[in-house]
Symmetry: C2
Subunit: 526 residues, 2 copies
């Protein structure tokens, strides 16, 4: 029993963690309990029961179905239920009256036909793209219509049935809205606001994590790809949050459409608050996050730049990425605090450090484009590109570099050496020159592996050929990485702009103006 | 009225198009109508009504709530409703008996407390991550429990109320399942199968579209970014489908979880068909699609390689991308036809053409790393990278190239000429040598723009500084593009593997074996 006791303790603890993670969850649960209890009291006490009768049961159903997590979603669902019930009620009364007037024999035929028609029509309409958000409303129309028409037929007076149903639904709806709005309301707008700010942090964290991993990575073995792609890289928590950001478009849209139903509240005090602008900012942020995903792709790519080469540009890469992450984080903080702070300074910092990175790459671009061994080409048909005339320059520089450094390496051209087995140089301690020399030697010591001879036998499914990388492409991988980083920075301009648009439309407090007026006041007092 | 008539015609036409687009929509609507009609007949005819009584109304509710688009989703919802109702029924009967036994005064207290408790508990449990898929079941528990307990209290005999409710729900559920499964069933498995195959086509199309645009693009003006990012690039239909593929993870998962509820059917005849494997293949495909998104990002990047440079590698890029797209498309076709065809040949083709591309980039890498003007650096503080020793080689090749070509271009170093205004050379007609010469000259004629002097005034929000690109980085943009293409190809290995896994687990027909046996038979008959 000790073991069982232990797991029970664990279970209690995980429930406790879950509650502590977001106290709103507990509040929501208690509120639902309260709302159902309030409606039940109408039946449990004798006085209201004698007034309302058994029909009051429908209000319990209404509470159970209408009560949603956020205020906006509850209003939205309530709207669907109210309009649906009303439409269905009117329709049902009209049909029932027509059926009654048409005589005893035709009556059930008319009722049956109308039920079939309404069933088919509402089902078709809820598939129509622009009506999909009202899916629940169509369900309500269908079953309310059927209930009123059918019970009207058996119990007579469809108008009374409809009225009874409608006002018991109204009571349920009133209790739901009352409890949901007045007792610790959970606003969809607030949730949307926090979600967006959180997404900014996720992108910034993920960028930093990715850069750190890229520079740390000392060519050690990676876990098998197919495992990591399904587990979503368990050792990279920020990456998962970034991917969650990419998949958050539906969440943001749902919250925004709920938030539109909410009255002005709390920090979001002015009417027609621009909730849809949040979705737009989210879209631009996702556009930036695609670059982080691409960076992450290079990090886990099969084709890898050697570690020595990466750390050559370490300080520039770190500088640019840290500034970029800082900018993203400060944008998120601005949204979170509903402030407008001038971003020119941070943007300038990011641009300056990115330019430094560009220039560093620019100056040392020869590192990215290794010269190549002749014998790789002699055995193969020449492509049209190999007899161009203007390549003489590169040939010259190539032969110079070959003369300059140990051509002894060329003696083992058919011994494919994996990257991981080369001793990783403690580069920080060595002089830059030495690192470069080693680098160049290393690029030479990697011969292209021969093209595999593929068996094209019919049963060769399990022995699939593998993609191979030329060594020059491994160096270009670094260029790709930095280009993607630079592209990320380029997209930040748009992000800053969209956040600025949001700030203007949502009338965030202008920290700049505040500072400006403070300076003015200071000057006046001096 | 002519105008109104016209719009009505249009409306009819769009409805017609919608129906024709997927005939299943009409079938679904008619099926819902039929199911509701069938249940209503139980009340409209006198004989069954006398047997079942008014409680039969609950079966209408059940049909309206349980009837879903696909068979699997209906089963899933039915399971939720059945288990929820049963649990609620048992609980309610127990609580009601306890309440009755405890005497007249305490009875309403016990009932009220139990309603509050069940309300709070079910609401809390449906927020628990692993129980979220059963959200509907918890709703059912809540309202069924309340209804039985409350009406039992007022009308006596909670057991009878519970039984009446349960069997009318059972009738509704039976009719729903009967109509949904036996009349033109819409299988979630079939939908999932087709959706996945469609996603393969979307990725292949999007890749080809992206490459075509990249090579076509003659540096003409792009529409404003902020517009295109919200409209999702209206002139690129395949891109939107690719993005839909990226957002399809929830759709695939929903369909797969529905499909698991379905019995073997049609082409998916064997038990425990690996539906979850479809989700995995979808994940790997999305992993490939991220590279297409990154390629698309380079296509719409602010930092662009000049058109001349792009078309230099046109044939290699086209070759590699066409083979890759073909492979992706044939994988999709294999899934769609449930065939296994050997992929070694196509993979080899893709790899060979990608290697050609790599080699071409490798040989002409000097084009990607332009040499740079000295005056750009003289005015700025030198970074630590600028006084390295090993850069002598590149300096040598630089000075050679400078001597070789018109240094007259250097006379206009402060006249930033936009790319679009240069006459786009009809490159195909010129000799390769000439194109290269022009290219080199052009790289020289682009001076770095001076660093903007940023005003750091406090009210400068609308005048945000813009990211600028050094010209060498513009050339590296091509390297990025090709690297991403190569990485896409590298990921295809995993895609082929995962499709192969799916084919094995789902026992697709082996076209290889078929061919093999055909050859055997041929040999024997000869």
């Amino acid at each position: 029993t000790g073991n069982r006791n232990f797991s029970f303790k664990q279970w209690i603890q995980s429930v406790w963690e879950f509650c502590k993670g977001d106290i709103n969850r507990v509040i929501f649960s208690l509120k639902v309990g309260l709302a159902v209890l309030l409606v039940s009291l109408l039946i449990l006490f004798r006085a209201p029961y004698e007034v309302f009768g058994t029909n009051i049961i429908w209000s319990i159903l209404t509470v159970a179905i209408m009560f949603e997590y956020t205020v906006g979603a509850t209003f939205n669902r309530g709207f669907n239920r109210a309009v649906g019930s009303l439409l269905a009620g009117v329709l049902a009364v009209v049909v029932a009256q027509v059926a009654i007037c048409s005589g005893h024999v035709v009556e059930p035929t008319i009722i049956g036909a109308s039920i079939f028609l309404i069933g088919a029509l509402t089902s078709f309409m809820k598939l129509w793209p622009s009506l999909v958000p009202y899916e629940y409303g169509f369900r309500v129309i269908l079953f309310t219509f059927c209930l009123i028409v059918v019970s009207g037929y058996r119990m007579g007076s469809p108008v009374k049935t409809a009225m009874d149903r409608l006002y018991s639904i109204a009571i349920g709806a009133f209790v739901t809205v009352f409890v949901n709005v007045l007792i610790f309301p959970i606003w969809a707008g607030e949730q949307l606001h926090n979600e967006l700010a959180k997404n900014f942090d996720a992108v910034a964290d993920s960028l930093e994590e990715c850069i750190r991993k890229y520079l740390e990575d000392d060519d050690s073995d990676h876990p098998e790809f197919s495992k990591t792609v399904m587990d979503e890289f368990p050792d990279e928590p920020a990456y998962r949050r970034c991917q969650a950001t990419l998949n958050s478009s539906t969440k943001l849209e749902t919250l925004a459409s709920s938030a539109k139903w909410e009255p002005p509240h709390g920090r979001f005090w002015h009417c027609s608050y621009p909730w849809s602008e949040y979705v737009k900012v989210g879209a631009v942020l996702r556009y930036c996050a695609y670059e982080v995903m691409a960076l992450h792709g290079v990090l886990h790519s099969e084709i890898q730049a050697p570690h020595n080469l990466r750390i050559t540009f370490q300080s520039e890469i770190l500088d640019a990425s840290n500034h970029a992450a800082e900018l993203v984080r400060s944008l998120g903080k601005d949204i979170s605090n509903m402030m407008r702070t001038p971003k020119s300074t941070s943007l300038k910092k990011v641009h300056t450090s990115t330019e430094r990175l560009q220039r560093a790459i620019d100056m040392h671009s020869y590192l990215l484009t290794s010269s190549h061994d002749d014998q790789n080409y002699s055995s193969k048909p020449l492509t049209k590109l190999s007899h161009t005339l203007s390549s003489t320059l590169s040939d010259l520089s190539y032969s110079l570099s070959k003369d300059g450094q140990g051509s002894g390496d060329l003696e083992l051209p058919l011994n494919p050496q994996p990257v991981g087995t080369l001793p990783s140089a403690p580069a920080q301690a060595e002089s830059y020159h030495e690192v470069m020399k080693k680098q160049q030697r290393r690029l030479h010591s990697w011969p292209s592996r021969e093209v595999d001879v593929f068996d094209e036998g019919v049963l060769e499914m399990d022995n699939l050929p593998r993609m191979r990388a030329l060594e020059s492409t491994t160096a270009l991988s670094l260029a790709t990485f930095t280009s993607l980083l630079i592209e990320f920075v380029a997209r930040l301009d748009h992000l800053v702009e969209s956040v600025n648009d949001l700030a203007v439309m949502a009338r965030f407090k202008d920290a700049g103006v505040q500072k400006y007026t403070e300076i003015l006041i200071q000057n006046q007092t001096q």
